[in-house]
Symmetry: C2
Subunit: 162 residues, 2 copies
């Protein structure tokens, strides 16, 4: 089971947008420049984040992307689901209805026990992702990045927004 | 994020093998017959389960597949990992090293905070899967299958093993 690479990019992009001051926006080409990434690749993920209401695109000469709500109100789950969708990881194809122990659909009152157990585990995964806010991710990143690099990034952000 | 269809098949196949009496084995073609599945498709998954030490292939005229250890000692996690592998769902490609806030690898003492948060959530998923034994899955299946179908399946198993 693999999460798409887009999830990693989307979380990093959102963590960067969390550093954009209120009412400002970071141009897409600046975002791409920061990560040394093709614009089209990043734009695709930003579109999904925008559809999910996590980022907004501001128009105008100082336009670009910004978070649609405060970083403390955006969870890792929000971002993962924006990129990966909300379908369950485990799909039940009703295998239990096959073979000599299989009964018609109407004979079963609950989803298959295997699916229930698999979905319960997914729920634990999602709950853990929901517990982590983008604010915490941003704070961890700042705390663990060497001071000289934080200074460089801050200067870069000032230029990018000017 | 999607689990492969093989996971569902493997869990159902193991649940069926859990009903095979000690020292007996269910021929692969009987397993395929039970699920109305191509032999080659099922054989691929049985091979993975065998590589992971979950099932064993018994040789001889009454040969076939059996669980390699008691159903209460096999977890859903064992089966999921046998089919999907043990690699993390989230791969960290060290995006933090890019751009103006990026530092050389030696500057970071810990894995990226984003990766740590993502892996923590995976750990919760795996822990939940590890808590469920094949014995419980089998019991749930028996409890939720109409009695007439359980009877049919029991008769089928007796014939398949004779």
């Amino acid at each position: 089971m693999k999460l798409s690479e887009g999830v990693e990019w989307a979380i990093h992009a959102c963590a960067l947008l969390a550093a954009v001051p209120p009412r400002a926006a970071l141009p897409t080409r600046k975002l791409a420049e920061f990560f040394d990434l093709p614009l089209a690749y990043l734009a695709k993920h930003l579109q999904r984040l925008s559809n999910a209401g996590i980022v907004i695109a501001r128009k105008g000469p100082r336009g670009g992307y910004a978070l649609a709500r405060p970083a403390r109100e955006i969870s890792l789950l929000d971002i993962v689901e924006a990129i990966e969708g909300r379908s369950p990881c485990f799909s039940c194809t009703e295998i239990r209805r096959r073979g000599p122990s299989g009964a018609p659909a109407t004979a079963y009152r609950r989803p298959c026990g295997i699916a229930r157990a698999m979905w319960k585990a997914e729920k634990a995964w999602r709950a853990e992702l929901a517990r982590v806010s983008l604010r915490e991710i941003q704070a961890m990143g700042l705390a663990e990045t060497p001071a000289a690099q934080v200074k460089k990034a801050t200067a870069w952000m000032e230029t990018a927004l000017s």
